[in-house]
Symmetry: C2
Subunit: 146 residues, 2 copies
């Protein structure tokens, strides 16, 4: 699968989260051969769970693994420090980011520490977050601890 | 409450995790006045959940909050990058660490970014992790992505 195919899964997750009244950020973890290991979206609103960001949700749904070397974390938005820390700690080899315009997380820090980072600058991802932040700023600030 | 009282709650959590057959790392989040907001322990084994480290569990159990400025995250072990990222992203003001001998996480990085870090170097915490790592090295390596 090409990068835009991988991103599509994360976007579907973000859209599902939005439809549930939640924060529209989605993610998915893939193996090196393109096998989907887990997918998920932010669940702050849905589960009243501040610990379930999109990336942590996809990571949880992938289940336990001995290592993550060849895996790719795909996310609609630049990963926050919490999710960047997840990537670094577990040695996830690559991060594919939908966009980093509406929020700048830790992707440069990950690249400095050997993670392959690709930013697609996808207009659909930018529009989704721009509209969400304008509509529900307090919820967004809560989710990033601002 | 003094620091050793705060640590005791995290140690109780770690011991509960060990008794359940899990990884003995515990944590608790306190407000500035010493009010316990949430407590928890690593749940990798118990819930088959690789995303539930001690700190993320305590954070989840504290529920949704608008900000974390005056809070203290107490943990029996130096926080890994994942949990250090949690602390940084949500602006948790202080981290109180039981020990950092058996594992060196991101506490220096947190201190560089303005988090108040205290390491108690508690012998009981060191012994608990030393014994656990010796008894179940594969499980420990899985939990830190090595």
């Amino acid at each position: 699968m090409v990068d835009t195919d991988l991103l599509r899964i994360a976007v579907e997750e973000a859209q599902a989260g939005l439809a549930e009244g939640g924060i529209p950020i989605g993610a998915a973890l893939f193996d090196s051969d393109g096998t989907l290991l887990g997918r998920g979206h932010n669940r702050r609103v849905q589960d009243d769970d501040p610990a379930m960001h999109a990336e942590t949700s996809a990571f949880r749904n992938a289940g336990r693994r001995a290592n993550y070397r060849g895996t790719t974390m795909v996310t609609t938005l630049s990963p926050c420090w919490y999710c960047s820390g997840l990537v670094r700690q577990f040695g996830i080899g690559r991060v594919l980011v939908g966009e980093a315009r509406t929020f700048q997380g830790g992707h440069d820090w990950l690249a400095e520490h050997g993670v392959e980072v690709t930013i697609l600058d996808d207009p659909g991802c930018v529009a989704m977050m721009t509209e969400f932040i304008a509509a529900r700023p307090q919820l967004w600030f809560e989710d990033i601890g601002k």
